[in-house]
Amino acid sequence: MPVTYKKIASVTVGAGGAASIDLTSIPATYTDIHCVFSIRGSQAQVYQQIQITFNNSATGYSQRNLYGDGSGAFSSALSGNFFYSDGVGANATASTFGNGSIYVPNYAGSTNKSASLDAVTENNATTAYTQLYALLWSNTAAITSLKITAGSGTLNQHSTAVLYGISKS
């Protein structure tokens, strides 16, 4: 039975938190990569921004999203120095983390990288977010690293990210 879905790396934030989760030295041997993350940030807010970058690059990110907040559905676009989604901060329901999944096809190819990001938060309160994103990183370099930060603030203990490599054979 060939293994087509293999863990490349995983990180769990320890006591005291961390400024970022860095998944580095991604080999170019897979067809696609898939990162699943569970994040809680330290900002004194119910929701806070989660930022994702490739190869420590600060340029070339654009995204279009569709999201619901429990009262309506909305769409918006953004371009800038990183991809972002809404995660949970320190004022969210205790022990509750935001979750997300980013899938990057042909991550090692020589074309610009399109990707999908799905992210959710829940707070057992009046507002929570279900978010679907179309992503484009306008860079032809192979992706060799992926960084997740909490924007302002740090990532709390028990935040995790797992990176999988998917081979088509």
Partner: protein, 176 residues
């Protein structure tokens, strides 16, 4: 090398059934994925619900959920939410019907940890053809418990059942 995507159990209904249960779920995986396929109900359009637990099913008011989707009834996408529910909804506005099957892929992330509350993501589709419920829906479900999950129930509204042929498969995903 080890396979990382393993079929834990599959149930295909040979007759109508109100609840499909998975018990004594192994704790050896990183995440669980529940795939619900070709689900129809026996009398009316119905929501599909989930309850989980450790050693038994938790039917307390510990579930909340938020949806995002679009369905045949309106051109306008929707989002809604409920807190302090006794179960989580895997589909809501895009209900399963007697004639138009629904499929859902439900990820139960980090299900065996004993530190954090558990989040599920349900990606649900009801087949085209129904003028109200056909559509696309994504839901986030929160179970406010730090207990590991080893029991799981899927069911539809009271007084209705899943029709024969509905299929429920539970996979384990191992990060190794």
């Amino acid at each position: 090398m080890t396979a990382t995507y393993e079929n834990i159990a599959t149930t295909t209904l040979g007759s109508a059934q109100t609840t499909v249960s998975f018990t004594n779920i192994s704790q050896s995986f990183t995440d669980l994925r529940l795939v619900i396929n070709d689900v129809k109900t026996t009398s009316s359009a119905r929501n599909v619900f989930i309850r989980v637990g450790n050693g038994s099913i938790d039917s307390g008011s510990n579930y909340s959920h938020t949806n995002l989707g679009a369905r045949a009834l309106s051109a306008t996408p929707f989002s809604d939410r409920q807190s302090n529910q006794t179960s989580g909804k895997l589909s809501w506005y895009t209900a399963a019907t007697t004639a138009h099957p629904q499929m859902s892929v439900v990820d139960l992330l980090n299900y065996s940890n004993t530190t954090t509350n558990k989040t599920f993501i349900s990606n649900s589709r009801t087949a085209p053809g129904d003028g109200t419920y056909s559509g696309v829906e994504v839901l986030v479900i929160l179970w406010r418990s730090t207990s590991a999950i080893n029991y799981l129930d899927v069911f539809t509204d009271v007084a209705d059942s899943f029709a024969s042929g509905s299929t429920f498969t539970l996979y384990g995903i191992k990060a190794e």
